[in-house]
Amino acid sequence: MSTKTPSRLEKILDSGQLAVTSECGPPRGSDPEAITKKAEIIKDHVDAINITDNQTSVTRLSSLAACIHLKLMGIESTLQMVVRDRNRIALQSDILGAASFDIHNILCLSGDHQMFGDSPQGQNVFDLDSMQLIQTVRLMRDEGKFLGGDDIKRPPKMFVGAAANPFADPFEIRVPRLAKKIAAGVEFIQTQCIYNLDKFELWMKEARDRGLHEKVYILAGVTPFKSAGMAKYMKNRVPGMDVPDEVVKRMAGVPKENQPEEGIDICVETIQRLKECEGVRGFHVMAIEWEEKVPEIVERGGLYPRPEDL
């Protein structure tokens, strides 16, 4: 493969090295330090930082603005963009806005339903779906066209990503769905948090059987549990999350003060096991409001140091 964008993440993946990404959620306020401080903690241990887009439908500082803050710090970001809140005019407009700051990665998502957040009475948009957003970015980049057909002056140069959840139902279409996203033009995938490794490995095997692992870079998603309570919450309350009983038991089986350490251990073990899984091309470490642990996870996972300039 050869690279199609100036994205550093793309270059690292293209070089065959395992990539490491992480994510930061913007604040519920306008203080840029809330994002720049988090980024400062993790920047040397990751290749790019995703900025979430009003995740769980809770209103926050905009993903694009936060990406610009990172850009000004010299940090590569991945603009997460959900189709829940913007129609095709706003989506394309924000893509151009990001491109004007040379933000080179985008993650195309549907977005959680607004009923989960602070505005359950709000409208949603869903003019496009995530699959169609992938197509849109590729059209804008590769053909230099707007959806309306007109030419774009200085088209965006973005490495196009999407999410995949190997654990949502129905399982039988989870690999076909990946194939569909690849057909739509996706170039990298960040998966849902992996706790059920057997199921993930089965999904990867089915993906390999279809040769999909050679058509897209798959970054395995991991999230450390801070506590047994968090494990139970993720198991029971977060849609599309698969936390096996033995993982919850393991977390609950250690004293409360040792649970954070146990959570990190599980996360590191997951990385170590999945490094051996053919088709896993990197890791997406989502330490939710626990960014300070990302360096430790990356180091103990044997993923440090990160590649120097390529």
Binding site: M115, M131, Q135, N165, E172, I173, A184, P239
Partner: protein
């Protein structure tokens, strides 16, 4: 059918207090089937209002009429000669009927007696659910006869999203995931391969987004 739900009586009392003679106007179509605005519901509402105003010591007169439909001129014309005697009308038709009444009887106050909800089916008596949002460009041929626009909470044309769990939607355990049903149907029809065809970006101009809509059929127009 168009499915409607009863409005709380308190809301209706607020609308009509101050009037002396009121017509409660039912509709014999959809709202009768979904038991929100037919002859029976007209009678129940009228009695409840009478009782309320009687207890309050307010003298208020109420007539009950149920028309065959409130979305066609000919039926609405049936009450033309008696409209003058009413200070206000509470229409238990869907929003369509309420508006057609308002347009036709321009000088009369017309109030809605139901909340119009959606186009749907009777799952069982007392349970109605949505099936169509009238997008103006039917895609059911491509989705195994199940509509993701009306039945997926995110209207995903290429679903399901990552929130589909055990056949249910991420927003409610009581709501079936439309895409689970689509996939089950595709399997049943031995067409699961169709799942991988990417549904193109939809032209929403035939939907609400394109502004109020109109169908003009020259072949049947007089």
């Amino acid at each position: 059918m168009i499915v409607a739900d009863k409005k709380p009586i308190e809301e209706i009392i607020d609308m009509v207090k101050g009037y002396r003679k009121i017509l409660i106007l039912g509709c014999n179509e959809c709202v009768t089937v979904c038991e929100a605005g037919g002859k029976k519901e007209v009678a129940v509402l009228a009695s409840a209002l009478r009782m309320y105003f009687m207890n309050e010591g307010t003298k208020i007169e109420m007539d009950e009429i149920t028309l065959e439909r409130q979305c066609d001129h000919e039926y609405l014309e049936e009450i033309r000669n008696s409209m003058d005697q009413y200070d206000a009308v509470v229409s238990l038709a869907c929003g369509v009927g309420v508006q057609f009444m308002a347009e036709k009887y321009f000088g009369s106050p017309i109030y809605p007696g139901v909340n119009t909800c959606f186009m749907g089916v009777t799952e069982e008596r007392g349970v109605w659910s949505e099936r169509c949002q009238g997008c103006g460009q039917c895609i059911l041929d491509r989705t195994a006869g199940i509509c993701p626009i009306s039945r997926c909470a995110k209207r995903l044309l290429n679903g399901p999203c990552g929130g589909s769990t055990k056949g249910k939607c991420e927003i409610s355990k009581d709501l079936d995931c439309a895409w689970q049903i689509i996939i089950d149907r595709l399997k049943e029809l031995d067409r699961l391969d169709d799942y991988e065809e990417i549904a193109p970006i939809k032209d929403w101009s035939t939907e609400r987004a394109g502004g109020p809509r109109k169908v003009v059929r020259e072949d049947v127009r007089q």
